[in-house]
């Protein structure tokens, strides 16, 4: 039994289906990237996986002893957080809450866990700082540490690098792959197929056609070939480390 099995899933709001016929499996240690165009239902799928909304059709099964609340989540920033007065320590600690049941306060275990995860993300020296005063990359590290407090098994990342500059983006991706090497299973949403091919070992493409398979299978598929074609047309040659998106960003920085 895989960590997460999705069978014939349709997601959407109410009766309006955004994406349908999605089936895939995630095993421990996998790095799955969900790609698709804007509006193809990536975020809706993510919310359904997190059980924030009900699936329209199909089922989501967890296995290998994964409990429903053992899914860590790195959400996109909300408006509320932009001026929220909270210290980094408070934000990271709040990740421990799901496991606390009805206990009203944090245990010393929780505090230790939070300290370890802050160390891991290299934000220990920021612990007393205010979340809203941090840079975008630092904020993402804080939220990642919080997600790790909730679980060390499965992380769902929703566009973790949106709004970050190329250097911080690269750091963020390295950080995520390091976590993956420590047997943390990663499911990441991205509209950036280039990165997906670089880092992930499995790809789920949703949109007009649904594709699920390993990275190599994706490169051989119709959607993958189309992508490669686009890339070689843009760049002249196929250079995986640089994608259309990051190159454009670099141009912006240079120009």
């Amino acid at each position: 039994m895989a960590l997460l099995t999705v069978k014939g899933l349709s997601v959407g709001y109410g009766s309006q289906v955004v994406a349908e016929n999605i089936s895939f499996e995630v095993n421990t240690g996998d790095y799955l990237c969900i790609v698709g165009e804007n509006g193809s239902g990536k975020s809706t799928l993510m919310k359904t996986l997190l059980r924030l909304q009900k699936p329209v059709k199909g089922e989501i099964l967890t296995g290998e002893g994964l409990k429903e609340n053992e899914i860590g989540y790195l959400p996109q920033q909300t408006v509320v957080q932009k001026d929220f007065p909270a210290s980094v320590r408070e934000v990271v600690l709040s990740g421990c809450q799901g496991r606390d049941g009805f206990r009203p306060f944090y245990s010393s275990d929780d505090k230790k866990r939070a300290a370890e995860n802050m160390e891991k993300m290299g934000i220990t020296d920021l612990a007393g700082k205010c979340y809203r005063d941090l840079s975008g990359g630092q904020q993402q590290r804080v939220l990642l540490a919080r997600a790790l407090c909730a679980t060390s098994k499965l992380l769902l990342l929703d566009e973790p690098v949106s709004g970050l500059d190329p250097k911080v983006t690269a750091e963020m991706y390295t950080l995520i792959s390091e976590l993956n090497k420590e047997k943390v299973t990663i499911i990441m949403i991205s509209h950036d197929i280039g990165t997906a091919i670089n880092y992930a070992d499995h790809i789920l493409h949703i949109g007009d056609s649904v594709f699920f398979g390993t990275r190599d299978e994706f490169l051989g598929s119709k959607a993958g070939k189309f992508f490669l074609m686009m890339q070689s047309r843009d760049a002249g040659t196929f250079t995986p480390p640089k994608t259309r998106k990051t190159m454009k960003k670099e141009d912006d920085v240079n120009g």
Binding site: L52, V80, D83, F84, P85, A86, G98, P104, G128
Partner: protein, 280 residues
């Protein structure tokens, strides 16, 4: 000083001070959360609902109008806060709609069925709470004490959950916190505080009690805990000094407290800006 000591001999003045301190404490605790959740105006909206409910209670002829005011206000709070995230009518519009609607119906009902000779006086005192805090009896004070204790204890017990739900509701929900239940608790506590606070400052000025201390504290502090504690202290200090000034100078209680809150906010703004520019 002598004048103050003279007034303190009267039980109703002591009652007013006790109730004032308790209400300002409770409202400031919830204020931080409400302001951050973008529900600053809920105080105003709910107090108008309470005003409408009071009018209905008055017409029916209930002697103890809490029986009808409290449930109706709690119900509205639950509806407003629960539908906040995914509602068809967004939070601010829903609050505005309920607030204005309830105010209009309340005044209409009072006008049609009124038995009182001084209608506009009645309405004015409900809206601005000009005298009601000085006419409290021992029973009402006890009710207020008990409810305040419940609110403070609930707030301390659920402090971490309230933080999580306010900071990032989706994350909290995804990791197994029962966010709906905590939103419900926040809504109920908010409604209770607002009904209590109507006695102190009246319908129109409740928002000030909720918003000002929180905003002032946010200018000065940078962590959730220190902001909450600071806003509680500021709120109690303002309520106390506002009431004492109003007793000594004979000004209306509610507006004096709010004026004190506004002055403190100005000072905090200035301090925050000066400190910010020094650090930079």
């Amino acid at each position: 000083m002598d004048k103050l000591a003279f007034y303190l001999q009267y039980p109703f003045v002591r009652y007013a001070l006790i109730v004032g301190v308790l209400i300002s404490l409770c409202s400031s605790l919830l204020g931080v959360t409400l302001v951050l959740k973008r529900f600053s105006y809920i105080g105003d909206g709910l107090s108008h609902v309470a005003f409408g409910a009071m009018a209905v209670a008055g017409v029916i002829g209930l002697s103890d109008n809490m029986i009808i005011v409290m449930p109706i206000t709690i119900l509205s709070a639950v509806l407003l806060l629960r539908t906040g995230q995914n509602a068809k009518i967004k939070g601010d519009a829903a609050i505005a709609m309920i607030s204005v609607g309830a105010l209009a119906f309340g005044y209409l009902i009072m006008n049609i069925f009124s038995t009182s000779a001084n209608l506009s006086g009645d309405v004015c005192s409900t809206l601005f709470g000009s005298t009601s805090i000085l006419t409290l009896n021992a029973g009402e004070v006890w009710l207020c004490v008990v409810l305040s204790i419940v609110v403070v204890v609930a707030f301390i017990l659920f402090y971490n959950r309230i933080f999580a739900v306010t900071f990032d509701e989706n994350f909290a929900k995804a990791t197994g916190t029962k966010t709906d239940a905590y939103n419900l608790i926040i809504a109920v506590i908010t409604a209770v505080i607002i009904v209590l606070a109507m006695n102190l400052v009246g319908s129109l000025l409740i928002s000030a009690l909720v918003i000002f201390p929180a905003l002032s504290a946010m200018k000065l502090f940078r962590s959730f805990k220190s902001v909450t504690i600071c806003s509680a202290i500021l709120s109690v200090a303002c309520a106390l000094s506002g009431m004492i000034i109003s007793i000594l100078a004979g000004t209306p209680v509610g507006s004096t407290i709010v004026a004190a809150d506004a002055v403190v906010f100005g000072v905090c703004c200035l301090t925050g800006t000066v400190r910010g520019s020094v650090i930079k």
